[in-house]
Amino acid sequence: MNTTAEAIETSTANLKASDFDGDRTFEGTLGDITAAEARMECRQVNVWYDDNHAIREVSLDIGKHEVVSMIGPSGCGKSTFLRCLNRMNDTIPAAKVTGSIKLDGREVLDRGIDVVPLRAQVGMVFQKPNPFPKSVYENIAYGPRIHGLTNHREELDELVETSLKRAGLWEEVKDRLEQPGTGLSGGQQQRLCIARTIAVSPEVILMDEPCSALDPIATAVIEELIAELRQEYSIAIVTHSMQQAARVSQRTAYFHLGDLLEVGATGQIFEDPQHNLTRAYVTGRFG
C-alpha cells in the first residue's frame, strides 16, 4: 500500500505548476485513439466559443458495442466534445467547430448534411435535466410521435412503459404519468430524460453525467441499462466518478484544458496511465 502511494508520489513529483494552466505545449494524445470497429471517427476536432479555444485537435473513435467514458477536470471540454458528435453546438451561435467527424463513414460536420436524422441516430442526455413542461407520459411519447414510430395508442403506452422501466423510473411515476415532468425531483428528471432518449432507439447515445443527481440504487439501474444498451449500440459517457468510468466503460479518454491527453483501455488508464496528469487525476491528486 505504502509503496503504491510512494510510486505515485515520485511519478507526480515532477509535475510543474505550469502543467495546470493553459500555456502548456501539447505534443499529441497518448495511447491508441482508434477503436476495433469504429462507429464514429473524430479527427482533429477544434471548437471555439468566440475567441475561447475550448477543445484542440481532439481525435477519438467510438466503436461498435463499446462504452467510451470521458473524464477530466471541470471545464476541460468534455461536454463541448460530446455536443459536437450530434451537432448540438449548432444551437450556440458563438460556437465554431472544425475538423472531421464521421458516423459510419459519412461526414457529420458537413454543412450540407441534414442534422435531423443525424440527431435521431445519435441521441443525447444533457448534463442538466431538461424535461419538457408536459406530462411525464408526453415527455417520453414526444420522440416516438414525431418520428412516427408507433401508430397505436397501445403501442405507444407500451413504449412509454418499457422506456421508463429501463431507466428505473416506472415504479416511481406509474401513478402520475399525467403530471408534469417538471414537477419530478432532480434525480427523477434525470432518469426521465434518459428514458426519453432511449424511447427513440438511437444507435449512438451520448450521456453527459447521467448519474450526477442519482442515489446509488438508481445509479446501478442506469449502469445496468448502459451495459444492456452496449449489446446493440455505442455509448459515450461523461462522468466525474472514476468508479463509474471503471465499471461501465471499455475505453477511457482523459481530457485536460481542452486537450485529449490520453486514451486507452479503461483498465490501463486507471492502473497504468502514461501521462503524469492522467495519473494525478485518476488517483485523486487534483481535479
Binding site: 448540438m88 435531423v116 443525424l118 443525447m124 431538461n130 419538457f132 414526444y142 420522440g143 414525431i146
Partner: protein, 463 residues
Amino acid sequence: MSQTLLLVVILAAMALAFQLGRGRAIRTAGGPTGIKHLHSLPAYYGWYVAIWAGLPALLLLLAWIGLEERVITALLVQGLPAEMTQDLSEGRVGLLVNDIKNLATGGITSGDATPVVQAAAERYRRWTGIADAARWVLVLAVALAGLSVAWWRLAPDFRARNRVESTVLGILVLFSSIAILTTLGIVLSVLFESLRFFQRVPWTEFLFGTEWSPQIALRADQVGATGAFGAVPLFTGTLLISAIAMLIAVPIGLLSAVYLSEYASRRLRAWSKPTLEVLAGIPTVVYGFFAALTVAPFMRELGESMGLDVASESALAAGAVMGIMIIPFVSSLSDDVINAVPQSLRDGSYALGATQSETIRRVILPAALPGIVGGVLLAISRAIGETMIVVMAAGLAANLTANPLESVTTVTVQIVTLLTGDQEFDSAKTLAAFALGLTLFAVTLTLNVIALHIVRKYREQYE
C-alpha cells in the same frame, strides 16, 4: 422664496442632527472601539435624530403652506365692513379679495382703490409679514425640539435601526397609498355618477336594451326625443371592432414573433425589432386619420368593385387599422415570452431528432402559450378601450349588427360624443357616459386580472 430657504435650513438642520446623533452614539458607547456595544450601527442613531429634527418640521411647513392663504383670506373678508360683503356673490367677494391682495403686492387692480380696500390691503400686508415670521420661528422651534428630544433619548441599547426602518416603511406606505387612493377616488367618482344615472334609467334597460339614442328633450314640448339608453348595440359594436382587430393582430403578431425569435438572424433581429416597436410609438390619432381617409375609402371602393355595399365608416376599416396598431403589442409580448422559454428545452427537442418547426409547434408554443394568451388578453383590453381610431373611423350610428361592412359605434365613441359639446352636467345624457365608463372599466379590469393571473402562473414555471 422664503419657503425654499426655510426648506434648505431644515435640511441643514437634519444634516447637523445626523452628525450630532451619530457622534453622541459613538461617545456614549465609549469611542469607536465601543461601537459593538451599540444596538445599531452609529449611522442609524444619526438618521434617527435627523428624522426627528426634519420630519415634524417638514409636516408643519406643509400644513402651514396649505392653510396660511386660506386663513388670512378668511380674516380679510371678516375684517371688511359687513355692508360691503353681505350682498355680494361668492365670485364677487373673490374678486374683491384679489384686488386687495394685488394692491398689497403692488400689482394691478380692477378699479380705483377705495380707502376701505386700501386699509384692508395694509392689513393684509401686515398679516402676511407676521405669518412669515411666525412660520420661521415655529418651524425652527419644532425642528429644534425634535432634535433635542431624539438626542436625549439616545443610549447604547436604544433600538435606533428598528425605529428608522419603521419610519422609512411608513413613508413608503404613504406614497404608495397616494397612488392607490387616486385610483380609488376615480373609481368611486365614476361609480357614484353611474348610480345617479341608474336612478333615472333602470340598469336592466341600460344593460339589456337594444336601442341607443341618448337625445333628451331640451324643452318639454319637443317631440320624438325621449332618449333610449340601451347599451347593447354599443357593446356589440365594440366587440365587433375588437374581434376584427384581434383577427388581424394575433396571427400577424404571433407569427412575426415566432419568425423573429426562432428563425431570424441576429442582424435582422437587431433592426426589425426596433422597427416593429416604432409602430407602437405612432400616436393613435395618426392611425385614426389613416383609417378614416385612406383605409375606409379604399375598402368602400374595393367593396363596390365586388358588388358589395360597404358603409363609408365600416367596422371593417376601423377594426383593420386598430389591428395594425395592436400588432407590435402582440408581437413584442409574444416575442418576450418565446424568448423566455429556456434554450435547454429547444436543445432537448432537437436532440431527439425534431425539426425546428416541430420544436416550435410542440414544445415552444405550448410552453409559451399561457404567456401568449395573457399578452393577447392585454391586447384585447387595449382594443376595447381604444378611442381615437374609432372616433374617426367607426361612425356614430348605433347599429345592432354583426356585419363588418356596416357602420357601428363603440362605447368609447359614445362617451366622447356624450361629453363633448354643451350640456348640463347632471343630465341623463352626461351621466350615461359615466355608466358606460364604469361598464367598460369593469370589462377591461376583468380581462386584465385574468391576463395577469395567467402571465404570473406561467412565470412560476421556469423560476
